[in-house]
Amino acid sequence: MILELKNIYKDYETDAVPVPVLKDVSLQVEKGEYVAIMGPSGSGKSTLMNIIGCLDLPTSGEYYLDGENVLSLSDNALSDIRCRKVGFVFQQFQLLPGETAIQNVMLPLSFSNTPRNKRRDIAAEALARVGLSDRMDFYPRQLSGGQKQRVAIARALVNDPSIILADEPTGALDQKSGKSVMELFEKLNDEGVTIVIITHDKNVAARAKRLLHIIDGEIYEDEGTNGNIG
């Protein structure tokens, strides 16, 4: 079990009245799964992603990521777990504009205290995995949207995380590059990478091996894709 959420509640305080966003969410993800979590905006999707990504803590409940009890961790330990166990892919890529592709990919390695002399090789290998060996020294402005997202995916892979957590990874891409990014996810999943995608796009969600719906802060398993459909 890579991911285990038990009875997660999350409230937001607005004007002293707590607004419930997540209501009793329980979720288990096995190693090697490819899961899509789908829901309309305002459904609690982003909040769930923040909690899974250890960016935010639930109001109550239990959360184990690769065996670690996330709720008991300090701020520093949360940074550490994000660094080693979660690979983030964002809708807007979030690449540093002043750094080249390889420098962007090397960034998480500096946070995980990877020896300086190994960083470049590891990053180059990750870029090769996403098919961008020939774009290593390009700046983000010199890359297409699809290429930028692939750099971001290489960055997510570089610390060999337990899961890749992607938030609307095709949201800012045209159809063709969106498709190539989705194909990349499938390839990585075939190589054994656990992937959780959060999206409101039916077509994206349909490509995952398992589909979950989140509506009004509650989570439902999609009957049609439940189980291990190949």
Binding site: N50, G53, L55, D56, D75, N76, S79, D80, R82, C83, R84, F88, F90, Q92, Q94, L96, G98, L107, P108, S110, F111, S112, R155, N159
Partner: protein, 414 residues
């Protein structure tokens, strides 16, 4: 760390105008401090040269009254002051830091030395003991020095300096000629020259201001043993001491005075004069320096606030970068250091520019006003450290703010 410095320098370079404007306060502050210190340092050096002689490192121990050398000319030697004996000189030579020491007696005289019709209008007659020329760093340019047995014998031989030679002999060879000192005939056996370019010119700060370097002084040396022939015993003996380093002069002179005072009884004591006037002067110039540096520091304070302001702007501008780094696993410490380094590098660069500007400024002031100019390495180091400190001090608040940003809020701002 090096990575952070590299990033900071790149950031400064990519926002050149903004960086310069931010650094302006620090640049002006450091430049004024360096300029002030250079001028004050130069003035101090000049005063030191005039009062104790640069590179000479010779101090004298004399009988004192109320902190000044006492005028004994009409009173004779006060009771209880014995002659300086060889044993005392040997003991003074044994003090740590002493290179050489010799006793001497001196009296200033106006028109008391003649060669034919030529006279020395203003001269110092010095009765000297063995080793005096070596102690003061004088070298013989003509003739010979006193022989060892001549110091205490009554043989009337004399050594004169270049000024005396020029005034009396007008190009004639003085060696072997007879001059008249206080109506006593002396045979000139040699001529000495001061090897130190900038000899001590004045006996005290009062003289320095009174005569201001308008007179050419000459010196005539006779063996201490012949002093009673011309002046009886009405001058107390003093001791000239050469020390290894200028800063040791005061302490060595005090130790030497203690040795001489062991044999002294009565109202007067041996003491060092130069130290007192130097101390007074240094207190004064240091006070002025402190005041001016204080004023310049205000500019540094204002500069620091400017740096804090721009760092806060920078944190806001880079919220999403900070959020991203935190999401990717950067600990608070990493973000804190990144911003602290950036502001410290910013102010250090400002500090270095300030030092360069300050040196140029001091040079210009020195040329325009004629005040001497000196660069203080200590203050340059202090300035760099201080400007770095300002960066850390005023960068701490923005950096702490950056490190506490929540990655969710930070990433949401796109």
């Amino acid at each position: 760390m090096l990575e952070n410095i590299r990033l900071a320098l790149r950031g400064i370079w990519s926002h050149k105008l903004r960086s310069i404007l931010t650094m302006l306060g620090v640049i002006i502050g450091i430049a004024s401090i360096i300029a002030i210190v250079s001028i004050v340092e130069g003035t101090n050096k000049k005063l030191e040269t005039s009062l104790i002689g640069a590179g000479n490192n010779v101090t004298t121990v004399q009988v004192m009254q109320d902190g000044w050398a006492y005028e004994f000319e009409y009173n004779g030697v006060p009771e209880g002051i014995p002659q300086v004996n060889d044993e005392s000189i040997e003991r003074i030579k044994g003090i740590e830091g002493v290179v050489n020491a010799a006793k001497y007696l001196q009296r200033q005289g106006w028109n008391v030395v003649y060669y034919g019709d030529a006279t020395l209008s203003n001269t110092f007659i010095r009765g000297i003991g063995d080793g005096y020329f070596q102690t003061l760093g004088y070298s013989l340019i003509l003739g010979r020095n006193f022989a060892e047995d001549e110091f205490n014998s009554g043989k009337k031989v004399t050594v004169i300096d270049e000024n005396a030679m020029d005034a009396l002999f007008n190009g004639e060879d003085p060696v072997g000629k007879v001059i008249e000192i206080q109506q006593e005939p002396y045979i000139v056996i040699g001529v000495v020259k001061d090897e130190n370019k900038e000899e001590k010119e004045y006996e005290s700060i009062t003289d320095y201001y009174m005569y201001g370097g308008t007179q050419t002084q000459s010196n005539v040396y006779i063996p201490a043993g012949t002093w009673p022939i011309i002046y009886q015993y009405d001058e107390p003996e003093s001791v000239a001491i050469k020390v290894e380093e200028t800063k040791m002069m005061q302490s060595v002179a005090e130790s030497a005075a203690d040795i001489l005072n062991e044999r002294v009884s009565g109202d007067y004591q041996y003491g060092a004069q130069t130290g007192d006037s130097m101390e007074e002067l240094e207190t004064l110039t240091n006070a002025i320096q402190l005041m001016l540096v204080g004023i310049a520091s205000l500019s540094l304070l204002v500069g620091g606030i400017g740096v804090m302001n721009i760092m806060l702007v920078s944190v806001t501008e880079r919220t999403s970068e900070i959020g991203l780094k935190k999401a990717l696993g950067a600990k608070r410490r990493v973000i804190l250091w990144q911003f602290l380094t950036e502001s410290a590098v910013l102010t250090s660069v400002g500090g270095v520019l300030g030092i360069i500007l300050g040196i140029i400024l001091a040079k210009v002031i020195s040329i325009v006003t004629g005040l001497p100019f000196g660069i203080s390495v200590t203050w340059i180091i202090i300035s760099v450290l201080f400007s770095m400190g300002i960066g850390i001090l005023f960068g701490a608040m923005p950096a702490s703010k950056a490190s506490k940003l929540s990655p969710i809020d930070a990433l949401r701002r796109e």
